[in-house]
Amino acid sequence: MIQAQKLSKVFPATKKTKEVRAVNAISFECKPGQIYGLLGANGAGKTTTLRILATILEPTSGTAKVAGYDIVEEPEKVRENVGFLSTSTALYDRLTARELVEYFGRLHGMDGDALHKSVETLFAALDMNGFRDRRCEKLSTGMKQKVSIARTLVHDPPVMIFDEPTMGLDVMAARAIARFIRQCRERGKTVIFSTHVMSEATKLCDRIGIIHGGNILEEGTLEELRARHATQDLEDIFVKVVGDEQ
């Protein structure tokens, strides 16, 4: 479960940049067994929102509860219960696939048999045994993706956060990620993911929040959005919502 309550993030002015209000008092809720899509253009505030939920960034005001823990009060507890995957979460090139997944397992407090069992299960499920002892720098994009997925799942978190997970990937790799996101939902996990690809949001999301300029301008199931804006096409809905705002 994720419950965001008036989350805001302001990046203060620097010598080179003005103050940026990246996220502006947004509130939303994602339930277990559901996929919540944060749909927005570049610079809309998607990454900042997800980084705040993953406690990589602190909110300027407001808070959120992730898996029952407050992101401001108990950030370490939150991270124990979250799997975070984005295109900017790279792998350690000089570690092998197995070493990397084991390392993240240990960082999540796992050891001994529990860790071994989790790693073996994941490697078998994701068909990774063929390259388990190969260093990450020698892996193909698809293999790296599997390692990243195994890294986020090693501690079996109840909440999954994906920040534009298919950006820059080819069709096959993007489909694999989409399949993985669906599997997370089937296993009853709470899933939130950000994208600017309309087709992806259409196929995957149970609920969609359209974010623009740090504000959630529209929210609901795909059907609700279609009914509200009298059009079937999500792109038209998006342009209407964002365009109205602009």
Binding site: L57, E58, V82, F84, T89, A90, Y92, R94, R106, R151
Partner: protein
């Protein structure tokens, strides 16, 4: 803070670093091969150059002296130099290195010397040219002996007893044991080398584990783990300290072995009768130097972590860290200058104090008061640096600087 988590991060960072070719070069190849090769190689080269300079029979020109055959003959008879015919451009010949020195004899020298009214014999040489300087020493020594002999024969002709001419003899005698001689000579350089190596050893991993991680995109990955940022930075910090100390220990061990192996060669290369090459170091002194280096190594590691953490990329980190090299080298060089001694003021200057106390320790002296003061002050500076690194790692404006 969790020791378990710090240990997990430390082990991973160590494995990761040891698989990085650049870290391996800076941690193993440079200290084990390059530094000994440079220091021993330069020592051998220096000794052989010195030897060659001494073996050469230098060309010396006598200017004037046509009316003073006695001194001219004496000079010509010496087998320490080769007399060349007089030429009016002798000064140019010296600066062109065609001759090493010229001995200018004033007119009527022999006759005047007999009356005890001799003028000044001038030895022209090229200052800064080692061969000319060495020849100038030899010629002056020769002329000094010649003057003594002449004085003795003149006084003897006046019936003055010869013994009065040399009422006493002077000779020198070293009372310092070989360890102390070594400690003040080659050993005095040991703390300097160890400090520089402790710095360079920490440099690469400090940049790689911070700015390098940001550049490669793994910083965000690691921040998603539940391990606290303090544990993360401490795990990285201990890795950097390990690299720093390992570099210094490996370099010193390798240098020690190389010097032992090269000792006989260097001794042979040096001319006979010279003081020789002292490398009798007190192992306890070396150990004590390492103990004093510990807080300094911690200071270097933490400071470099904090600085390179601020950088967005490895290249930017290099821009920040490179000038720091001078900050380390300068106090170490100042400590090697004559007259710079350990006192309450210098004991509080980081790096300088450790080099100075290191010199004392290598010479077998143990100024306990200063040792305690320097260790304590270095520990305080190191703690401040660790605090700065931890603070930097907890600031998202630093971690996500763009």
């Amino acid at each position: 803070m969790s020791l378990r988590n710090i240990g997990v991060v430390y082990r991973k960072e160590l494995v990761d670093s040891l698989r990085d070719r650049r870290t391996v070069i800076s941690m193993f190849v440079i200290p084990i091969l390059l530094f000994p090769a440079l220091s021993v190689g330069l020592g051998l080269l220096g000794a052989s150059m010195m030897n060659k300079a001494k073996e050469e029979i230098p060309r010396v020109m006598i200017v004037g002296g046509q009316d003073s055959p006695r001194i001219v003959e004496a000079l010509k008879k010496s087998d320490k130099f080769q007399i060349v015919p007089e030429s009016p451009d002798f000064e140019t010949q010296i600066t062109d290195r065609k001759i090493r020195v010229a001995v200018v004899i004033p007119p009527g020298f022999d006759a005047a010397a007999n009356q005890g009214e001799a003028g000044k014999v001038l030895v022209d040489y090229y200052e800064g040219d080692i061969k000319s300087e060495l020849t100038q020493d030899t010629v002056r020594e020769f002329l000094s002996d010649y003057r003594g002999e002449l004085a003795r024969s003149l006084l003897s002709a006046r019936n003055v007893p010869k013994g009065l001419m040399r009422p006493f003899e002077v000779s020198k005698n070293n009372v310092a044991p070989p360890e102390k001689v070594g400690g003040s000579g080659v050993g005095g350089m040991v703390p300097y080398f160890v400090i520089i190596l402790a710095f360079t050893g920490a440099m690469y991993p400090a940049m790689d584990l911070t700015a390098g991680e940001k550049e490669r995109g793994t910083m965000e990955t690691i921040l998603t783990s539940p391990v606290s940022r303090t544990d993360l930075v401490l795990g990285k910090f201990f890795t950097v300290v390990t690299a720093s100390l390992a570099t210094a220990i490996l370099a010193l061990t390798s240098m020690g072995i190389s010097f032992m192996l090269a000792k006989s060669t260097i001794d042979k290369a040096l001319a006979k009768g010279e003081p020789g090459f002292h490398f009798a170091l007190d192992p306890r002194g070396v150990l004590a130097v390492f103990v004093m280096i510990l807080p300094l190594s911690v200071l270097f590691s933490a400071a470099m972590l904090a600085v390179s953490l601020f950088a967005k990329s490895f290249r930017e980190a290099q821009t920040y860290i490179s000038p720091l090299t001078f900050v380390v080298i300068m106090p170490a060089i100042v400590a090697l200058l004559p007259g710079v001694e350990l006192n309450t003021r210098t004991a509080l200057v980081p790096i300088l104090s450790t080099t100075l106390v290191g010199k004392e320790l290598m010479a077998g002296n143990h100024p306990w008061g200063f040792i305690a003061l320097i260790f304590a002050s270095s520990c305080i500076y190191a703690s401040i640096a660790i605090g700065a690194a931890v603070t930097m790692f907890n600031r998202e404006s630093v971690l996500f600087r763009s």
